[in-house]
């Protein structure tokens, strides 16, 4: 055989090896997490673990409900803030803005995406938390330190701007020009074309972007941990402190070895996050890939 062909084959073999090993690592991760969670699930059923609201590891109570609710609250708040803003802004960028403006804003979104979570956290502590405790909460007659699920939601909203904007802009750009032209020529205003034609057509893509935003928000650890109070309770209002799932893992890993089942519970939390986010990501990626194929 030719030396060049041998080199080619060698490259192929080694590349396959790298690919396989990284896929195997991922599988191992999943299996490892599942195995580590087994002791907890053997002690208590999955249903009780997910719906019990008492978290006191020393007494052997591992109820995940406060953390699940904390995560849901923070995520929902961030979506309520981020989704309308991002839809409006990306429609503007695609339909109204000049090329120059678009070329300026989209790189800025990349900067926003590149800012590390801890800096968002610092910003939250320096700006969002004091504003909430000094100005916004008194408006509603609430007394709070500012470390609340609302603060977490606001910081998260800013963090998921870039991913939502970049995907929504991409999706909106795949809408065929003829469709808009047809609607406009029938006498619809541009805004009517946007709401009744473009957004309807772009709905699956926008949904996919929102789901990706959700999965980002779900897993965000440090920024949220820094601003949302970390009290294992069921938040009842915007101004209550919450304790999201990732923060639980981050805060308690140091001491988990000394208490029985504690490590198993934390691994179960990691497994829960992994499975949920993997599922969300998979779903929205499948939608986006299909849209992309259609557009080509």
């Amino acid at each position: 055989m030719n030396w060049r062909l041998i080199k080619d084959k060698l490259a192929e073999r080694s590349f396959v090896l790298l690919l396989l090993s990284s896929v195997v690592v991922i599988l191992l991760i999943l299996i490892g997490l599942a195995m580590k969670s087994v002791p907890l699930l053997r002690a208590e059923s999955l249903l009780t673990v997910l719906t019990d609201s008492v978290w006191s590891p020393l007494k052997g109570n591992f109820g995940f409900l406060p953390f699940i609710m904390g995560t849901i609250w923070v995520t929902l708040i961030s979506l309520v803030i981020a989704v309308p803003l991002c839809v409006l802004a990306s429609v503007y960028l695609v339909e109204y803005a000049s090329e120059a403006l678009r070329k300026m804003v989209l790189p800025l979104m990349n900067v926003l995406a590149a800012i590390p979570p801890v800096l968002y956290g610092v910003w939250g502590v320096l700006f969002v938390v004091p504003i909430l405790s000094d100005y916004i909460a008194p408006l509603f007659g609430v007394n709070t330190t500012g470390y609340t699920v609302l603060a977490g939601g606001i910081v998260l909203a800013v963090m998921i701007f870039p991913i939502m904007i970049s995907i929504m802009v991409e999706v909106l750009q795949t809408i065929p020009q003829e469709l808009k032209a047809a609607s406009l020529s029938l006498g619809a205003t541009k805004w009517e074309t946007i709401t009744k034609v473009i957004l309807v057509k772009a709905k699956p893509g926008i949904l996919a972007a929102v789901v990706l935003g959700v999965s980002r928000a779900f897993g965000e650890t440090v920024a949220v941990l820094m601003v949302c109070g970390n009290i294992p309770q069921l938040p009842k209002s915007l101004f209550d402190a919450g304790y999201p799932l990732p923060a639980l893992i981050a805060n308690n890993f140091g001491e988990m070895m000394s208490i029985p089942l504690y490590d198993s519970a934390l691994m179960f939390a990691a497994l829960l996050l992994f499975v949920l986010i993997f599922g969300f990501n998979l779903l929205s990626r499948l939608i986006l890939n299909r849209l992309e194929e259609k557009a080509q």
């Binding site: 192929e12 790189p107 990349n110």
Partner: protein, 284 residues
């Protein structure tokens, strides 16, 4: 349907709403950087960035965060290098060797896409339990393993996007001239070289800013990182710990450290941008 005037008014209102939300989103960036600059600048000093903690730094005594800066740079450099060495071959394999459109290609690309979004705390938790299992203590090595796992999907994904921009004809031409897949791949790598640096910088930026992954695996220390099996401070963790201190002086140092990290990130972003425009020019 209502009359034309009210419809046009609606359009105007919508446009204003859109402009405002656009401004809110871009504004938030300047807001964040501005807040950190405003709070951090008064506390920033040469001493902060050039010295390591002199004992009791975190309760307000003398010293700086040089050890954390150095630790972060070590960690990010080594893990980015590893991720690049693993990631580039994988994306070349998926683009050049596997038949395009095959199940393997699509499944693997999807997998890396999905992994891209897995949060670093999960990687950190996994790496931590692996480390406990095989008996490595929290150290620079543990952090490097975690961050490498975290950055591989970024490299694979970005390089894949770059390889997709190469015209398919070019591939066919080189094959028809009798070059092997490996030779074609080498040529393609030259073609996307500026883009590869972009991918590396992206991964580096993510690696240097990550907290949740290193929180569990790298540990923390006041000394300069000398050996790979020793715990080491990292910049984001230094910010995190300083900020949770009740002493105002130490909190101020957290702001200053945040400013240092912001500067590093901004430099990376600017370099990425320059390289990306170079890649644009590079296009056939």
């Amino acid at each position: 349907m209502s009359n034309v005037k009210s419809r046009l008014r609606k359009e105007k209102i919508a446009k204003i709403a859109m402009q405002l939300s656009g401004m809110a989103i871009t504004g938030s960036l300047f807001f964040i950087v501005g807040t950190i600059l405003y709070k951090g600048l008064p506390y920033l000093s040469w001493e902060m960035v050039s010295q390591s903690p002199q004992g009791g730094f975190y309760i307000g005594k003398d010293g700086g965060i040089f050890n954390a800066i150095l630790g972060s740079l070590y960690l990010a450099t080594v893990s980015t290098a590893l991720a690049t060495l693993i990631g580039i071959p994988i994306s070349i394999y998926l683009n050049m060797y596997v038949k395009s459109g095959s199940f393997l290609e699509r499944a693997c690309k999807l997998l890396f896409d999905v992994l891209f979004g897995i949060p670093s705390i999960v990687y950190g938790a996994i790496a931590f339990s692996i480390m406990v299992w095989i008996g490595i203590r929290a150290s620079l090595l543990g952090g490097i393993i975690t961050i490498t796992l975290l950055t591989i999907p970024i490299v694979v994904r970005t390089i894949d996007e770059l390889l997709k921009t190469i015209p398919i004809d070019l591939k066919h031409v080189t094959f028809s001239l009798g070059s092997t897949r490996w030779e074609t791949a080498k040529m393609f790598l030259r073609y996307i070289r500026p883009g590869i640096f972009t991918a590396i910088l992206l991964a580096f930026g993510r690696a240097i800013g990550d907290v949740a992954g290193v929180l569990l695996t790298t540990g923390f220390s006041d000394n300069l990182p000398k050996y790979i099996d020793e715990p080491s401070a990292t910049l984001p963790l230094a910010i995190f710990f300083q900020l949770s201190s009740p002493i105002p002086e130490v909190q101020g140092r957290a702001y200053a450290s945040a400013l240092v990290l912001t500067c590093i990130i901004l430099i990376i972003v600017i370099c990425t941008h320059l390289l990306a425009s170079k890649q644009q020019k590079h296009k056939i």
